[in-house]
Every structure is written in C-alpha cells, then in structure tokens.
Symmetry: C2
Subunit: 188 residues, 2 copies
DNA sequence: CGTGGAGTTGAATACGATCAACACCGGTGG
DNA sequence: CCACCGGTGTTGATCGTATTCAACTCCACG
C-alpha cells in the first residue's frame, strides 16, 4: 500500500513546508510477525500507520489476561492516545500479528500540530471524529448486546479480519473467553 | 459559566474572521430539565456545549432499555458523532438532567472546519484525542473490570456527577441493572 | 393525603467464566 | 518418515456474577 507521504506528495494537496514537516517525522519500517512496537509503561509515543500487514493493540489486566482493544489492518492507525493526553505512560501494548510494513509517526506530529496546514488539520479532525464514532459503537455494543450479538456484528463489520486472526483473539476483542466463543459458534 | 465565544473573544486568541464564523453558528439557549435536544433518527446535528447544568446522551435498545453513553456537566460537550461521519441519522438521544444553559453548535462548525484557524483546529485535535482516550478507558473497563470495580472507578472519576443523578442512571452508565448496583453497594 | 418513581431485598434464572479433558493440526527434530 | 510437541479449538461439569421478576419501603411532589 502506498505510504501517506507518497500519497500526499502525489496529490499535491499540501505545501512544501507541510510535506517536509511530515517526512521528517515519518519513518517506514518492515517488521516481522510478533514484533512488539510498544509496551505497557513506554513513555515515548508513536503512532503506527499500517501499509501492509496487521497490528493489534491490547492491554494485559491485573489477572494477566489479554484484552484486545483494536485490530489495525492495512490503512489503519494503531496508537495509544494515553501518552498523548497526559504525562502518563502507555497502557496499551502494540504488536504485529503478521509480517508488516508500517510507518512510524513521531510524537511531534501530534504535539506540534500548529505547524500543520489547515487543510491537513481539518482532515485529521474528520478522522478523529470517525474513530470516536467507532469507539462509541463499541461501547454501546458492550453495554447492550449479548456475546452472540457482538460476535455476529463483528463478522459483519470486519469480515477481512476474521480470516486472519485466531478465534481466541476475536474472543479477546469481544470481551469474552475463547471457550465461550467456541460454544456460541457451535449453537448457530 | 462563561461561553466559549466570550472566552475566545476575551483571550484575543483568534482572528475576527474566525470569531465571526464561530458566532454565526453558535447559539446560546436556556433549557428546562427533561428537554430533549436530540432523538434517535434526527438528521440535523448539533453539538451542545454545557455552560451550566447537566446533559446526558444515551441509546434505547431493541428491548426498550436505556444505556447512558455520557454525562455532560459544565464545560463538557454532548454530541452524537454518528451523523457527522456518515449520512446516517442519529443513534443517540440527548436530554437535560437539570435546568441547563447551553450553546448549540451548528453542523457547519464540524463540516466546514477548513474555515477555522490553525490554532483553533489544533486545539480541537487535542480535545478530540482526549475524548478518544476517555472512550478507550471506558472500553477497557467494560472488558476487564467487574461491575463493582467499574462502580468504584466511577465514584473516583466523577464524584461531582454521583451527587446529581439518580443511582439507576449510574447503573445505566456502568452497563448493569439498577438492582445489581443496589446489591453491589449493600455489600461494601 | 396519596400516587408514582427510586431504591432495596429476595428467589429463581440465565449467561458467561473457570477448570479440566481431549481432538486436531503444523512444525520440529530424531 | 514418523514421533513428539505446543498451540488452537472443542466439549462438558461446575461455579459465580449479574439479570429478571416480584414485593415492599421510602420519599418528593402533586
């Protein structure tokens, strides 16, 4: 998949200054399945734009259980906004579920947003609102849907991810145990 | 509480153009407890900035049960981003839990963001990231905490709201029934 | 007053978690 | 080439947490 910088340049949407600022803080990397990009407690933040492959973000709770927060396939951004908002350290882990090609977006892209153009910023606002909408739906689903309903909704919404991850990770994303998901599936 | 426009003007942070654009699409209103500002299915969107009072946003599911998505006390924004992202209609209801004084922010403030200054936009980016962080925490809590843990966390995080809303609404926010919350409380 | 919403309590139920056993690969090394 | 191994997924029994349904108390507000 084309990088964001390449795309920006081709489309001639932004000024040279904006593009320079972007490219200074964006670095492309190829990583292997299993690579951990960020772990609980990290204080330097990055966001990871997925050009190819699949990342996930997750927490490990006090009982040692993993809970997947998001999957990030091609075209998505994997990031823990926790560090951006406070001077706190990261709560999320981020790792690669497949061999992946990513862009590492440096912290300054988020903290020095004043240097970006109006056009780019207003596009970012649009993306952030979309993400909020996604999270909003997830919360409402966790509150009002049964495990079965959540599973079926997941199948509809993310068919491309279903094929690529083990079932136990889907269970982890849905907020249930692998055993429960297995039983739910057998009853349909 | 001071309105956002008043604040912006006083602080001389923004250009006259920006302020004009803002004031054209912001209207202050005084509303009574119980007033419904938005309901499921509405297609015109507004965001509501709370100067004084308390709003809530919630859904009503297929079984007719209410699930509170957010409380919005003074200084907060109550809005359903659903309509902003697609051409879909609103999923959330928004109403007033107390007599309130609010600013109604028109749709154009979100769709014509290109007209806003870089400074204002980058501030908005910061606020959106904070909101994402709040939602992220809520999701992780719903997935990994017991009802009791979620309740105690709520008490710590929103002590000012606890006093102002009936218990059944806190239960609704936590994703449990009023009866369950009552039982949880009696066992501590 | 008296009426209805809020909160509590109890009994029965349902849903998902936990624990344990086992089948099914896919890969590795003997 | 096959035997072994670890990880994944399934199934069953049991347990625990929260739901449901119902009855009752307590107030706030008409």
């Amino acid at each position: 998949m084309e990088s964001s910088i390449e795309k920006f340049t081709r489309e001639k949407k932004y000024s040279k200054e904006t593009l320079d600022f972007l490219s200074k803080h964006i670095e492309t990397k190829t990583i292997k399945k299993g690579t951990v990009l960020q772990k609980n407690g990290d204080t330097t933040i990055n966001a990871f734009y997925v050009k190819k492959g699949l990342l996930r973000t997750y927490i490990i709770d006090e009982k040692g259980r993993e809970h997947i927060f998001t999957f990030a396939p091609e075209g998505w951004l994997a990031t823990d906004v926790e560090v951006l908002t406070k001077q706190a350290s990261a709560t999320l882990f981020i790792d690669a579920l497949e061999d992946s090609e990513i862009e590492v977006l440096g912290e300054k892209l988020f903290t020095e947003t004043g240097k970006l153009s109006t056009k780019l910023l207003s596009e970012e606002v649009g993306k952030l609102i979309k993400r909020i909408n996604t999270l909003q739906k997830r919360i409402l689903m966790l509150m009002s849907y049964s495990a079965l309903d959540r599973y079926e909704e997941f199948l509809k919404t993310y068919p491309q991810i279903v094929q690529r991850v083990p079932q136990k990770m889907i269970a982890s994303y849905l907020g249930i145990t692998p055993e429960s998901l297995s039983k739910i599936r057998s009853k349909k």
